[in-house]
Amino acid sequence: MYIQSSDPTIEKIYQSIIGNQDMLVSSVIYGQRYSGKTSLIRKLYKGATWVDGANLKEVHKALEDSQKVVITNFEKVTNIDSLNFENVHVLALYNSKHFNKKLENKFAFIYHFPPLSQREEDIKNFSNYYIEHIKELLDAPANLEIDETLFDLSENLKSLKKSIYKEIMLKTLTKDELYRALYYNFVNSPLEENIYDTELKLFDKAIIDAGLKRFKSQLQVSKKFGISRNTLRKKIDELD
C-alpha cells in the first residue's frame, strides 16, 4: 500500500525525478532509513533493475546490462569511483542523514529526503492510516483514542507504525491476554531473591496510577479500592 506524501519538499523531489525519467542521468536520494524513499520511487521504477549496493558485483553487472538501474543501500557500496554511470539511468538510495561529499561529483542530481519528524502533514496522514488499519486488524473499537505524544519517530515510519501497533494492542488486551503477557514477562525474568515482592510492585503501580487517573484524589482511590488512606500512601511512597 502506497500512501502519497503531502510534504511540499517530497512533492518537489517527486516532480524532479519524473522530469528526468527518460534521460540518461544519475541521481541519489539520501536520508534516514525508513523515511519513505523507497516507497516513493517504487512505483516510478517498476521496470528498472533493482540491485543492492552491498553486492558490488551485481551493481557492476546491472550498470552494464540495463538501461535503468535502482541501487538500494548505496551507503554499502565499497568503491564508488569504480561505478560507470555513462549511458544508463541510475537512481541510488543512500541511507544516511548526513551528506557524503563523495556523492557530490558522482551524481548529476542529489536529493535530501527529510525525516518524518520534519513532515507535520505526513505524520498526521501516516498515523491516521496506521491507526485505522491496525484498529481494523485488532478489532479495536472505532472510538479508541490514541495519545499522539506516544508516537515514536526515532526510526521514521517503522517506529511510528510499531508504536501505534503496540499502543492499540495494549489498550485492547483481554484479561486472558493480560495474564499471558505477564506470564511471558515473568517466565523470562531472572529469578532473583524477593522476586515475588518486586514483580508485585508492577501490578501495584499500574492499578494505583490508573486509580489516581480515574478518581483524581487519594481519598477517592482508597474508598474505591477498599483500603485505608494510610496503606495507599505507604504504597505510593514505596513505589516512587
Binding site: K12, S16, G19, L24, S26, E86, N87, A108, F109, Y111
Partner: protein
C-alpha cells in the same frame, strides 16, 4: 507604439560592444564584452578604438585578426558621432576545435536539461530564477549525465544569490569548426549579484570535458555549447 529597447538588443548581441568616454572610461559594455574584458585590459581595447577611429564622425570597419584568450576576432567596427564617446564592436571568427568522439553522447533537448536543473535547484533554494530561453533550439548530441551535473554545479554556485538571470540562445553568425564541419553555437549565460567560486575548478573541468567553452567570473558563468546534430 512603444519605443524600441535598443539597449536590450545590444546587451544580448553575440559580439562584444563597448562604449568609452573620450578619456577611456567605460560608459557601457554588453554581456559578451564583459566576458572579453576578463581576458584583455580595457585600456588595450580603448587604444584599439583610437588607432582605428574614422577621421570624421561616422564609423570605420577594419578587417584584422585579434586574439584575446581563447577568443579570435576577424573584424572591428569603431564609431563616434560626437567628441564625448567612442564605441567599438568586435566580430568573432569561427572557432576551430577538435572534439573527441564520445560514445556517451545522445540527442539531448537543452531546454529540458536546463529546466530540470532549475526544478532541482528550486527544491532547496529560494533564489529567484529568471529564465529567458529560445524554445526552438534544436536537440544536440551531448553527454546528458555530465551536462546535468555541470548545470547543477553552476546553479549551486548561486545558492546564496537573491536572483539569477539565465539566458540561452543560438549565437547568430558564430560557428565552431570540428573536423572540417561547421556547427552552430548555443550561448548559455548565468548572471547574478554574487556567486560562490569554491567549485569553479570542477565546473571548468566538466565544461572542458564536454568540449564547451566556459567563462567564469564573480557573478557570471558563460557557456558556449556546440550544436551537434549528427
Amino acid at each position: 507604439m512603444n519605443s524600441i529597447d535598443f539597449e536590450y538588443l545590444v546587451e544580448i548581441d553575440n559580439n562584444p560592444v563597448i562604449i568609452f568616454s573620450n578619456s577611456g572610461k567605460i560608459l557601457y559594455l554588453n554581456t559578451n564584452a564583459e566576458i572579453l574584458l576578463g581576458y584583455v585590459n580595457a585600456k588595450e581595447i580603448f587604444n584599439l578604438c583610437l588607432n582605428n577611429a574614422p577621421k570624421e564622425y561616422g564609423y570605420n570597419t577594419v578587417q584584422t585578426e585579434l586574439h584575446y584568450g581563447s577568443f579570435t576576432f576577424y573584424s572591428i567596427m569603431v564609431s563616434y558621432t560626437n567628441d564625448d564617446y567612442i564605441a567599438i564592436r568586435l566580430y568573432y571568427k569561427p572557432k576551430i576545435k577538435h572534439i573527441s568522439r564520445d560514445t556517451s553522447k545522445v540527442e539531448t533537448d537543452l531546454n529540458k536539461v536546463l529546466n530540470n536543473s532549475i526544478i532541482h535547484f528550486n527544491i532547496s533554494s529560494k533564489t529567484d530564477i529568471r529564465l529567458m530561453s529560445d524554445l526552438d533550439i534544436p536537440a544536440t548530441q551531448t553527454n546528458q549525465n555530465k551536462l546535468s551535473l555541470l548545470l547543477r554545479k553552476i546553479l549551486d554556485s548561486y545558492k546564496d544569490a537573491i536572483y539569477v538571470d539565465i539566458n540561452m540562445s543560438l549565437k547568430i553568425g558564430e560557428f565552431i569548426i570540428i573536423d572540417d564541419k561547421k556547427y552552430s553555437v548555443i550561448s548559455l549565460i548565468y548572471k547574478s549579484d554574487k556567486r560562490e567560486k569554491e567549485d569553479d575548478l570542477n565546473i571548468r573541468r566538466l565544461a572542458e570535458d564536454l568540449s564547451f567553452d566556459i567563462y567564469l567570473n564573480e557573478n557570471m558563468v558563460s557557456l558556449d555549447i556546440p550544436l551537434i546534430k549528427d
